[in-house]
């Protein structure tokens, strides 16, 4: 009996120590709260900008500089949440449990409105207005993107200047001298490329169909002022307008006649690979793709020299800041102050310059100088910025303004639109019905 009790005690002790030994650093558990290590406040910052994300080196540099500048006062602890969707999922769970980190990057995922609906976002209006240098960086478009009901809730560091890239060599093979300036000319170019045995467009339908959605938005923008006003509207709940229906019809034509077979069900990666491996002549995408052109694990050597950049027919370019960083309400006011400092630092002129030079990211503010270093590192970017400056029509992209639940709907319905299972009218009606569920 005694032996048995001793054995049981030993087993219990072993189990307890085994579990205790597996425990992490308990001091890290409250990392989203201010920690009392002297006067230093630790800001836990989850980010998906890690791993292969092109912004990862930028974030690392900014964190390192911030920690150096505010040494002893504030410190950022980076939490890597690899994968954009994983980040969104985690933020949504934390939103549900009221345990959001002090700083959230809204990115292109419209997380700001989800957080505002829960009333957990700190109003930055006073902080921005009291700092002329910070306020100066807000362009009108940035103010619109980051404000709700006249109050500033977020701050942007990145611009969303998006045109399209084309393969000059494939264009020359089809007898084309350069990008189209009108949509009629564009369709004519598609026919000529097709006749020359070249697939004109790299498209996708999965994972919210980013590339295809860019073409759709550009087609909508070509339909006049009302259509542009529609594109500028945040979270529209009615897609049944003539411009959208016409654009959906033209995208249907693109998917049926002018793209690769793997576009249906294909993700961004497939579209990018089709362009990078010269299987398609054009791809709509932002300047962040430029570094891929000279990446020999993705493209053949010398491919970068074959790529040209253009704004869309009808003198249109996507030009809107990407929704920026916002601060969430915390129990400790000192942590909120630290978070505001971090947001200010991450969206400063210097931070935007770093992103431009390291990543080739277009700054959110027009005040940021395009340095020679940036032009040298990304010559195509300099060319694109000059072209973009001539664009007469500018607006945000469709995905940035739509309700988040529509992103999945787009992925589900585009293949059906491509196969002819639904008409452009039905496609717009489905978007409307799902938008109205919000």
């Amino acid at each position: 009996m005694k032996k048995r009790i001793t054995a049981l005690c030993l087993v219990s002790a072993m189990a307890v120590t085994m579990l205790a030994g597996c425990g992490g650093d308990t001091a890290k558990q409250g990392s989203s709260e201010a920690e009392g290590t002297g006067e230093e406040i630790v800001i836990n910052y989850p980010t998906f900008q890690c791993g292969v994300n092109t912004a990862a080196p930028v974030v690392d540099q900014l964190i390192s500089e911030f920690n150096e500048q505010y040494a002893g006062k504030y410190r950022i602890e980076k939490e890597e949440v690899p994968g954009d969707q994983n980040y969104i999922d985690k933020i949504k769970v934390q939103l549900g449990t009221g345990d959001l980190p002090p700083v959230v990057y809204g990115g292109g995922y419209n997380l700001l409105d989800l957080a505002l609906a829960k009333d957990v976002v700190v109003d930055l209006t006073d902080a921005v207005n009291s700092d002329p240098e910070w306020k100066e960086l807000y362009t009108d478009a940035a103010m619109t993107t980051n404000s709700r009901d006249g109050k500033i809730y977020a701050s942007s560091s990145e611009g969303n200047l998006v045109g399209y890239f084309y393969n000059k060599e494939l264009f020359a093979k089809a007898g084309l001298s350069g990008p189209a300036t009108t949509w009629d000319e564009f369709w004519d170019q598609c026919d000529k490329l097709k006749a020359a045995g070249i697939t004109p467009l790299a498209l996708d339908t999965a994972d919210s169909a980013w590339v295809t959605s860019l073409w759709m938005g550009a087609l909508v923008a070509a339909e006049g002022d009302d259509a542009v006003a529609f594109l500028k509207q945040m979270t529209p709940d009615d897609y049944n307008n003539p411009a959208m229906i016409k654009a959906a019809g033209e995208v249907q034509k693109m998917l049926q006649e002018y793209t690769t077979k793997d576009a249906i069900g294909g993700k961004y990666e497939h579209a990018a690979n089709n362009f990078l491996s010269e299987q398609a002549a054009m791809i709509a995408n932002g300047p962040w793709m430029m570094s891929d052109f000279s990446d020999e694990t993705k493209a053949a050597p010398g491919f970068a020299d074959k790529v040209g950049v253009a704004i869309y027919p009808g003198s249109f370019v996507y030009d809107a800041p990407i929704q920026g960083y916002f601060v969430t309400k915390q129990d400790d006011p000192a942590l909120e102050e630290a978070a505001i400092e971090m947001v200010k630092f991450f969206t400063s002129e210097h931070a935007q310059q770093v992103a431009l030079e390291v990543q080739g990211m277009v700054p959110a503010s027009s005040k940021v100088e395009i340095t020679e270093k940036a032009k040298e590192a990304y010559p195509l970017l300099a060319e694109f910025l000059d072209l973009a400056a001539t664009a007469k029509v500018r607006t945000d992209n469709l995905q940035a303004t739509m309700y988040p639940n529509l992103l999945d709907v787009v992925s589900q319905e585009l293949p059906r639109l491509a196969s002819g299972e639904i008409t452009p009218e039905q496609y717009c009606q489905i978007l409307t019905e799902n938008a109205q569920k919000n």
Partner: protein, 283 residues
Amino acid sequence: MNRTWGQLTNRGRLLMILKYIFLALCVIVALFPIVWVVMSSFKTNAEILTDGISLPTSFKFTGYEQAIAISPILKYFVNSVIISSVATVANVLFLAMAAYVFARCQFRGKNILFWLLSLSMVVPMTALLNPVYLVINNLGLTDTKTGLILVYTALNLPMSLLILRSTFLSIPRSLEEAAYVDGAGFVRTFFQIMLPCAKGGLASAAVLAFLNNWNEFTFALILTSGQDARTLPLSLSYFTSQFSFNYTAMFAAITIAVIPSIVIFALFQEQVVSSLTAGAVKE
């Protein structure tokens, strides 16, 4: 008795050929995904995306080097081994005790309690996210291996309970009666007589629990923030983001991630299969 090729009739030979063709197809179907992943880890991004089933043009280990450089895969690997192993041992130990009681003891509400525990298998993972996050957070166990171990131990409860109860039911009662006659108590009978007899069921429950723990992603993502408690499946997300990808490194990382699962299943597959059918025939 097996007959040689020469002794078979034409019909017998035809049937044998068809049998081997069928078996070969089964082997190809089972092996194809594994071979495909391993082959892809030697291909470039363009080769993977352009022609998924083509052979690699060269066998370089660049993907493996990149996998280790881009993500903390080795650290996560060690974490996965610790978390999956401890959670598996805890799960099998505690559930064996529970299953033995359910199999042998009579008490009021036994069946209701058993089915209640078994029904937790059908609760969707997403429905568990918020409550589990809150509980683990309130316990101060977020971002710890202990937190994940507790969650994984519980997540595998229904499956292990079903398997182990069936296993104990399949063991003849006369063995226990003999132990009691020889003077063994309840605990000794359980640990020294019943557990060794339930070896197959224990192995089966352990393998399934280990595989679930090894592959689990969602809770590992939600309940951890640092590198000390994160597990291998998370490392696979380092290789794709919305506008960037490195499939070569990702397939190399998948190869590293799946090898232990394959080895464990290969070693214990007989126990798994036999114990899943145990209890079908009772004494």
